[in-house]
């Protein structure tokens, strides 16, 4: 298998196929994750915290007796909802920010939806943290202690189905806030109809063809292997936090604001994270707070770590989408509407990000040429685990509907859906057809063998029962430089030591996305005038808020280029400083000098030159030269590139099993920063993409409201044996602002997969299955066999 892409601009480091910089440390087990840094050997006096989880989907504690809990040998502290330090904690939300910016309590993104108490007396889902936390000498003692609490419960009626929950007679999940379960309109997400352009009714009346479709996305879990943890240690009035949070400075802000500590008194240390995938919104989770309070009470370090089952703490947000589209006979779309009902679960968190904030952006970058457009959304509380942030938030749900209505409309028009897409979709700043979309779709068609696609149900049949089909789905990519302006200043620093080695500071918590490799490559590329080699650069993987610049959070799939763009500016500044320092020695003005291949020279007389590091070592004060840059991403509306997935499947119409024969995953990246890493994302994203399409699902006992499969034996994650042939295709068609003009791809690698597979299934069997995941029974039901 070899399909190496050809870079648009050949560069020495950026864009190549090469190993990850942390490849050896990870392959040899040397990388230390937070759980590895906080063992009993390192903190011999540490205690373990455990929290009570509600066994009921909706209940209130009427009375709690902790006498036996406190008596158990080995228990060192018990903290309950009645303790003053717990009671005074402000009502919060687990998604203060989307990770792009740092936000305080008052400025949190979804401030109208503060609905979480830290250890309250009221449970809203099975698994809700409630009542008490304990710190004990071992995890098993802490577990045992929780079993000794005596609680008198008031068990309340519950609701699991979001459509049921919208009805006025449904039990209210948050009676303290509002009687209805429908989330309020808010200033950030906008009104219920959050995008309205033109007149959709007029648009539909002008159409020759009008179609409708329904798509139901469900609740896959992020499934990070590195269970979330923290260790809290107080020294005097300063709190040190070790955690596998992916955002060090926001974690510091959260703890500082909730515990009323100055920022300077909270030190957060994060290094590697064993997979983030958007888990648990952005991390303003109560466990940081009660673990810190337990450590304060006991005067000892306290560790909290979710176990695997507790790591089912949040999921992608289930959403029921209905779409409608009208078009002229020639395929010109006259109107589109999308309406969604999103299941928020027990807490709102980032629900409106998934339902409104994300789709509004998609409308801007992909639906800009649809003349009449209406997007409408409703978020609904239910007594289930909270939902929302997961790799590709909003986009995955929207694409399931978008790719479906395109397929349905194309069939009705008897038109190739590729042609229909190219005719109608693109960014507001660009005329149609969109060059990126054209090239991505035509390349995908070529690689999957689209010309061999048949009409639905008329494809090849093997052994009378196995039917083959093809499908695709496409989506706008995210995020380009202009979409990251809200991030504010990207901070990087380059320090040139007198021996020619470099200290790179480009803080980001490496979650696996490969941003650390991109940063090293970006540094080498930026400093190519100094002939810096990879082994000359020191780059720490640790973000420590006591010493680090602000960390660039690995969200929006954009860190791979954001810090490298800033490094280009820093490198120019470093070059200017070197020239200023060397000017007297070379008898010229700084602007008359240049540096190439590690040599500084007078531009007008290149024979007057010297090697930079030799001169620094032998003739200067030996002080390092430092360039620190604070760069805001460029606000140039360059549009966005497109991405697509093409799928070929075989459906066994006897058993209902779907065999994915091949996926082609295409990304127009603008500039490929690290080709091996980018392809790893394109390939790897299919574990989640196929999981969402076919296998992964949280199942509830609906009579009791209890989730049944919070474990990886009953919740199915694809292994190597399940993984199909996947062809990754990197492209450079579009270009954004800045030196590289790149666009993120990490999240979007799985966005189109479920819809591509579902369209291929339809193409194979001529019957649509509208609801994820497509397990065999749903195929058989659709075929009328069960």
């Amino acid at each position: 298998m070899s399909n190496a892409y050809t870079p648009r601009v050949p560069r020495k480091y950026i864009g190549g196929y090469r190993p990850r910089i942390d490849g050896f440390d990870k392959a040899s087990g040397k990388v230390k994750f937070a759980d590895d840094l906080t063992t009993k050997l390192t903190f011999p006096d540490m205690l373990y915290a455990r929290v009570l989880k509600s066994p009921y989907p909706h209940a209130r504690i009427k009375h709690m007796d902790i006498t036996d809990v406190e008596k158990l040998e080995g228990v060192r502290a018990v903290l309950t909802y009645e303790d003053p330090e717990v009671k005074k904690l402000k009502v919060t939300n687990a998604g203060w920010t989307d990770g792009v910016d740092i936000l305080s309590y008052d400025r949190m993104m979804w401030y109208p939806m503060r609905d979480r108490r830290v250890i309250g007396d009221y449970a809203r889902w099975v698994g809700d943290e409630i009542g008490l936390v304990v710190a004990a000498e071992s995890e098993s003692i802490a577990e045992e202690a929780l079993k000794l609490v005596k609680i008198e419960w008031e068990i309340l009626p519950f609701v699991l189905d979001p459509v049921e929950a919208m009805k006025p007679e449904a039990p209210s999940v948050h009676p303290e806030l509002r009687k209805t379960n429908v989330l309020p309109e808010d200033p950030v997400g906008g009104p219920d109809v959050f995008v309205e352009k033109g007149d959709v009714e007029k648009g539909f009346s002008e159409a020759d063809v009008v179609v409708e479709s329904t798509a139901v996305h469900h609740n896959p879990n992020q499934g990070s292997l590195d269970n979330w943890c923290c260790l809290m240690e107080w020294k005097g009035d300063t709190l040190t936090v070790w955690s596998n949070s992916y955002e060090a400075h926001q974690t510091r802000m959260h703890i500082s604001q909730m515990l009323d500590l100055p920022l300077s008194k909270v030190r957060v240390i994060c290094s590697f994270v064993g997979g983030q995938f958007g888990r648990n919104d952005t991390g303003e989770q109560p466990f940081f707070l009660y673990t810190a309070l337990l450590a304060k009470r006991t005067g000892r370090p306290v560790k909290f770590r979710h176990n695997n089952r507790e790591s089912f703490l949040n999921s992608r947000q289930p959403a029921i989408y209905t779409a409608k589209a009208g078009a002229k006979k020639d395929g010109a779309i006259t109107a589109m509407t999308f309406k969604s009902i999103g299941d928020a679960g027990a807490y709102a968190d980032h629900t409106m990000f998934a339902l409104k904030f994300g789709p509004a952006e998609i409308a801007e970058v992909a639906l800009a040429h649809v003349p009449n457009l209406k997007l409408e959304a409703y978020g609904v509380y239910t007594n289930k685990l909270p939902a929302c942030m997961m790799r590709g938030v909003a986009n995955s749900q929207f694409n399931l509907s978008f790719g479906q209505i395109v397929d349905v409309l194309a069939e009705k028009l008897d038109m190739d859906p590729i042609d229909l897409s190219i005719k109608n979709f693109g960014h507001e700043e660009e005329a149609l057809p969109n060059k990126s979309l054209v090239e991505v779709l035509h390349e995908g068609a070529r690689r999957i063998g689209w010309e061999n696609r048949h009409k639905p149900g008329e494809g090849p049949v093997y052994e009378h029962v196995r039917k083959r089909g093809m499908g695709f789905s496409f989506h706008p990519g995210w995020h380009a430089e202009w979409q990251e302006v809200r991030r504010g200043r990207i901070q990087v620093s380059l320090m040139l030591n007198p021996d020619g080695t470099v200290m790179l500071e480009a803080p980001t918590v490496e979650t696996g996305s490969g941003s650390n490799t991109c940063n090293l490559l970006g540094c080498l590329e930026a400093l190519s005038f100094l002939a810096v080699r990879p082994e000359d650069v020191h780059y720490s993987p640790v973000v420590d808020t006591e010493t680090s610049l602000r960390d660039c959070v690995q969200t929006d799939s954009s860190v791979s280029y954001l810090q490298s763009e800033a490094m280009m500016v820093a490198a120019a500044d470093l070059k200017r400083k070197i020239c200023e320092l060397a000017a007297p020695k070379l008898g010229a003005k700084p602007e008359e000098l240049d540096i190439e291949e590690g040599n500084i020279f007078v531009k007008a007389s290149p024979d007057t030159h010297m090697e930079v590091k030799t001169w620094l070592m032998e003739e200067t004060d030996l002080a390092p030269i430092v360039a620190t840059v604070h760069r805001v991403p460029l606000d140039l509306n360059t549009g966005i590139p497109f991405i697509a997935t093409f799928a070929e499947v075989e459906v066994d119409t006897d058993t209902g099993e779907v065999d994915v024969l091949k996926l082609v995953v295409l990304h127009d990246c603008g500039t490929v920063m690290h080709a091996s890493g980018a392809e790893a994302q394109q390939l790897g994203g299919q574990v989640m993409g196929l999981g969402e399409a076919l296998y992964e699902e949280i199942i509830y006992d609906e009579a009791r409201g209890v989730p049944m499969n919070f474990n990886w034996i009953d919740y199915k994650i694809a292994t190597m044996a399940d993984f199909p042939e996947v062809e990754p295709v990197l492209m450079e068609v579009w270009k954004g602002g800045g030196e590289y003009g790149a666009c993120g791809i990490g999240e979007s690698t799985l966005t189109c997969t479920p819809r591509a597979v579902l369209n291929a299934i339809y193409n194979a069997i001529n019957v649509r299955v509208d609801e994820l995941p497509v397990k065999p029974e749903k195929i058989l039901q659709a075929l009328g066999k069960i």
């Binding site: 490849g23 269970n227 091996s676 790893a680 790897g684």
Partner: protein, 187 residues
């Protein structure tokens, strides 16, 4: 707890040791003795003892119930799940953790260097990687020239949520090729 390099008693453990509650684990060629009840508890898993008592943090405890393979180590030449093995069950046995592999172990090197076009890298976050490396090492020790299907079969008990399966399989095949040209794996 006492660590002794290659000076431990015979593998055939005297009965009175079991009675007196001494547990001996030979980890990466070094014997470690534990007093049962004082140093370690009978309920503690091998994974817990290796990580929390001995500091071998290369193996990871993720699911802690045998579903993900992140805790894989090699015991007496076979890949085992250390979260599903009690420390007392490993008494007297030879255990190899990832820390016991040589710097130039061909499996480690193959995983680290995997980057050729079309396959991606053999890890992203790297949390599952030590488990995959140890499973692959046990496979190649037993079957130095596996087919792709045999690799998939052997490694399908490990979960990589980042999804680097294509590259991992290729890394194992690359390691196999290197072993067959260089002869033998290292510890």
């Amino acid at each position: 707890m006492v660590a002794k390099k290659d000076t431990a008693p015979d593998m055939g453990k005297p009965v009175e040791d079991a009675m007196s509650g001494v547990i001996r684990l030979r980890v990466n060629h070094v014997w470690h003795e534990f007093s049962l009840g004082r140093d370690i508890q009978p309920t503690e898993t091998l994974a817990y003892v290796l990580r929390e008592r001995l500091g071998f943090t290369g193996l990871k405890v993720s699911c802690d119930e045998g579903a993900c393979g992140a805790c894989t180590v090699i015991m007496d030449g076979k890949a085992i799940l250390s979260c599903m093995t009690l420390a007392v069950e490993a008494d007297g046995h030879e255990i190899l953790t990832i820390e016991g592999l040589a710097e130039d172990d061909p499996v480690v090197v193959a995983f680290a260097e995997q980057s050729e076009p079309g396959y991606g890298t053999a890890m992203q976050c790297g949390y599952c990687t030590p488990g995959f490396v140890m499973t692959a090492k046990a496979l190649l020790d037993a079957n130095p020239n596996p087919t792709l299907d045999e690799v998939k079969e052997a490694l399908s008990g490990n979960i990589c949520r980042c999804g680097c399966y294509t590259a991992i399989a290729q890394a194992v095949l690359n390691a196999s090729q290197k072993i067959s040209t260089q002869g033998g794996t290292h510890e």
